[in-house]
């Protein structure tokens, strides 16, 4: 049983792992070739290779230092501080897990949710409003704020589902447009009296109340907060929903063959609407957790690129809940480590984006990976992307 599960997991992780390895090899070359010090030695091949390898090593070492553990921070009085990078990785990964789950769940129902960004924004708006406007007892305040964000975003996502179910409009177009609306809506709302922090002229909301803040897990010096548990619970929820419930059964049936699902009496419009609502809720919870856990106040760029990276994360995680968690952690690490890499070795932060893009490129082109590694068979995940478009 256990061995069976392991081999299944290994099978599913094969393509992402190989894509990952390939992407890092190519990125390594880019790092070496973009370093003028290395290029200066192009005259003597041996020196060139030697210094190239050194640059690559230093860059990846910095990437590690910036994302997992930094020995320099651990020296001195507090060894624990050495894990500051890991804490940052998890802080970035937490909202990414939730938005990634949002996109992954949509994939399972045959929908391509590009709208996690907008849903995230509405989650952040709802959570911050309840967070700074009300004074509620501890725990209750957190729940109320998170719930407000989740529900608001679920409605925002549900609108897309309803429009698709009723009119047949394509969810990709709808969600892209809804992202624009959300993006400008947050600018506007931060200029209203309700949201603008008293005494400030730049768009920034008041901080959420102390009772509404997610507790920090490792003292005040590390930013890691309880949101990671919410994110993991959400992953468990999505897994349970898909595997163990009749609702998930309908989602998967519609995702795999909507026509057969319809013929067997499953209501496709209801599935589409409820999927998009739940996906919206997940991304919205991401926004809420981001506000309540690390940001504390609403700002126009609160969403960063969490909603868009989510697509990459869900693809890399092959739309599986567990896979999405791993993929989000990886991306969080790349983001956190990228900064250190830039600071320490001068390798531009953008190289991390190249790595991310390459990983997705290889995931989407499994035959290429198969060709490179001379593999006989790789279960394809390309269908994941194409299905959303056809749906």
């Amino acid at each position: 049983m256990m061995r069976n599960l392991l081999s299944k997991f290994g099978q599913a992780a094969k393509l992402p792992t190989l894509s990952f390895a390939l992407a890092f090899s190519i990125t390594g070359l880019l790092i070496a070739f973009s370093d003028p010090k290395v290029l200066a030695k192009i005259g003597s091949p041996l020196e060139f290779i030697k210094s190239g390898l050194a640059t690559i090593r230093n860059s990846y070492l910095a990437l590690f230092q910036g994302s997992i553990f930094d020995i320099n921070l651990a020296r001195g009085h507090n060894f624990f501080q050495g894990f500051y990078p890991l804490s940052e990785t998890i802080v970035i990964s937490t909202p990414l897990i939730l938005t990634g789950l949002s996109v992954a769940l949509a994939f399972k129902s045959g929908l391509f949710n590009i709208g996690a960004q907008g849903q995230f924004i509405f989650g952040a708006i709802g959570a911050s409003y309840v967070g700074f406007h009300f004074q509620l007892p501890i725990v209750i305040h957190i729940i109320a704020a998170a719930l407000a964000g989740t529900v608001l975003a679920a409605i925002w996502g549900g609108i897309v589902g309803l429009l698709k179910a009723r009119t047949g409009a394509h969810e990709v177009i709808l969600t892209i447009m809804m992202n624009y609306i959300a993006g400008y809506f947050i600018f506007w709302i931060l200029k209203t009296k309700t949201f603008l922090r008293p005494g400030r002229f730049d768009p920034m909301s008041p901080e959420v109340g102390l009772n509404a803040r997610l507790p920090r897990l490792a003292g005040d010096n590390l930013r890691i907060h309880a949101g990671i548990f919410i994110a993991l619970a959400a992953a468990l929820f999505v897994w349970w929903l898909l595997k163990k419930t009749t609702i998930g059964f309908r989602f998967r049936a519609v995702g795999a063959n909507a026509q057969a699902a319809k013929t067997a009496g499953i209501s496709v419009p209801i599935v589409i609407t409820s999927t998009m609502a739940i996906c919206g809720g997940l991304a919205g919870l991401g926004g809420a957790v981001h506000i309540l856990g690390s940001e504390r106040a609403l700002s126009p760029d609160v969403a960063g690129s969490f909603g868009f990276d989510a697509i990459t994360v869900a693809l890399l995680g092959r739309a599986q809940p567990l896979g999405t968690v791993f993929a989000a952690l990886l991306f969080g690490a790349l983001r956190a480590g990228g900064r250190t890499m830039q600071a320490n070795t001068g390798t531009p932060l953008d190289i991390v984006l190249v790595t991310q893009a390459l990983i997705v490129l290889f995931i989407a082109a499994p035959n290429f990976v198969r060709f490179v590694f001379r593999l006989k068979k790789l279960s394809s995940s390309a269908s994941l992307t194409s299905k959303g478009w056809n749906g």
Partner: protein, 504 residues
């Protein structure tokens, strides 16, 4: 020109699709290859045509060894193939389709299509076809599209023509016409390989018959062999071609349609004010040439169509306008026309497909919890009852053969309390053994007092199963006749000719 295969062997993993097959086809002969689905006929033909590479074996044309590794090799060796699914571009004209891949550039770099047009007219004249080279392919009936494929093969001078299940998509009239065409080609010296599992057609035109079972040549027999013998050689056991139909009391009307009309998406009325009464314990067959409104009528009964007018009473209750879910749970079982598209979720397991309709009911579900254990336990029961051949109920349904897939659909549909069974082309594409099983189940439902509405374009099937036959033509039921009607009369009715004698 003759084609000879010696010792063709092809394996896929552990599965041997072709096991040292020998075959000889002479010029001016129709050589039928008969076998069940999955017997290895298509694999063999794909090897001959260069779409697959044999593990071992040799192909000779006129005694010369050929190295065929892709279709162009086959074409230059004089081998042409008409596939079961046509390789035509629907929005192109006939002439454009025929020059495809052999385009000639004329003056000013413009595509020269005149030569192709002339060639089409010449071949059409030689073989007695009437095909307009400028017609858009998608506007042509299926039978004509097939002729376009044949013309293409002839223009590129195919001396050996492979027809892969050519009649599967044709109406009875079109089938007869194709058989005539084949005889014409044969007279002109073309060697024809005719792949099929339809016994009647084989006996009508074949000069030689080779029977393949599980990748091996079982026998080479003459066309005078009886249908029963051919069937048992194909399947490997005795086959009952004419199912026993017990005479019994027919009950009260259970499904009544009054002035039922269906419009398609573009607003055209495809079913026009139809009236019929289906009674408990009878099989009412709806016969007709494909595309005369039968599919839409079948779908309308389960409320899969959106624009339906009129009334539809199930056991006295109006069911028109119910949701699909409610229609199914009111007591309608529905075997859809396309099991791949409408019947099954191919990536789902067999067990999951068996509960597609009942997944939210006890014992499978309590609240929103779905019990995987109960689902697979019940699946095991269905597998036994319906004799579904599989390795595990948790395998994807796409791993099953066509016959077993259809058994999954039927098992699912009959696992609800059923008053009426709507079976739309239930044996399309199935082999003899599976057809026999499906027919038995349909008659079983009839004998158990259910009403069965059978939509079929197969005359033999209609005549074997029906108590009464409603003939649909251009969206109307033009006649309802008794099942003792002759095949000829039924054929005429299907062509829209209302004959006094055919009316009972």
């Amino acid at each position: 020109m003759s084609l000879e295969l010696r010792g063709i062997t092809k394996t896929f993993g552990l599965f041997t699709a072709n096991d040292s097959i020998d075959l000889k086809v002479e010029a001016g002969k129709i050589h039928a290859i008969l076998g069940e689905n999955g017997a290895g006929k298509s694999t063999l033909m794909n090897i001959v045509y260069g779409l697959l590479k044999a593990d071992s074996g040799e192909i000779f044309v006129d005694g010369k060894l050929q190295n065929i590794s892709e279709p162009s090799d086959a074409l230059s060796a004089g081998i042409g193939m008409v596939h079961q699914h046509f390789m035509l571009i629907p929005v192109f004209t006939v002439a454009e389709n025929i020059v495809l891949g052999h385009e000639k550039i004329g003056k000013f770099g413009v595509l020269d299509i005149a030569a192709a047009r002339e060639a089409i007219i010449k071949v059409s004249k030689d073989f007695g076809f009437s095909v307009d080279p400028d017609a858009i392919v998608e506007t042509l009936p299926v039978g004509i599209q097939q002729k376009v494929e044949i013309i293409r093969a002839l223009i590129y001078e195919a001396k050996v023509l492979i027809l892969d299940e050519p009649t599967a998509v044709l109406t009875p009239q079109e089938t007869d016409e194709l058989l005539k065409t084949m005889q014409e080609l044969k007279r002109k010296g073309t060697a024809i390989i005719f792949i099929t599992h339809k016994l009647r057609e084989v006996r009508a035109v074949a000069d030689e018959i080779t029977i393949i079972r599980r990748g091996k040549v079982i026998a080479a027999v003459s066309p005078s062999t009886s249908e029963g013998e051919l069937a048992s050689m194909m399947v490997g056991r005795e086959v009952d071609l004419a199912p026993d139909r017990q005479e019994h009391e027919i009950g009260e009307p259970i499904l009544v349609a009054n002035n039922l009309s269906v419009r398609n998406v573009s607003g055209t009325e495809v079913v026009k004010k139809i009236n019929f009464e289906l009674r408990a314990g009878e099989v009412l067959a709806v016969a007709g040439v494909q595309g005369n409104g039968q599919s839409e009528l079948a779908r309308a009964i389960v409320n899969l169509e959106d624009h339906v007018e009129g009334s539809l009473l199930l056991d006295g209750h109006e069911i028109r306008g119910l949701s699909i879910y409610d229609s199914l749970h009111a007591g309608i079982a529905y075997i859809p026309e396309s099991r791949e598209l409408d019947g099954l979720v191919s990536s789902f397991s067999i067990a999951e497909n068996l509960i597609l309709d009942l997944h939210d009911q006890a014992p499978y579900a309590s609240g929103i919890n779905l019990s995987a254990k109960v689902v697979s336990e019940q699946a095991e029961k269905h597998v036994l009852e319906f004799d579904i051949r599989l390795q595990s109920v948790s395998d994807a349904v796409s791993t099953l053969s066509g016959g077993n897939k259809q058994k999954v659909v039927i098992a699912r549909e009959l696992s609800r309390p059923v008053k009426v069974l709507i079976a739309s082309q239930p044996t399309r594409g199935l082999d003899v053994g599976s057809i026999e099983f499906v027919h038995e189940r349909i008659l079983g439902e009839r004998d158990a007092g259910r009403g069965v509405l059978l939509f079929s374009t197969e005359l033999d099937e209609v005549l074997a199963l029906a108590d009464r036959i409603a003939v649909m033509y251009r969206g109307e039921i033009i006649e309802i006749v008794d099942s003792n009607v002759s095949k000829e009369e039924l054929g005429l009715l299907m062509a829209g000719v209302v004959n006094e004698k055919a009316v009972s």
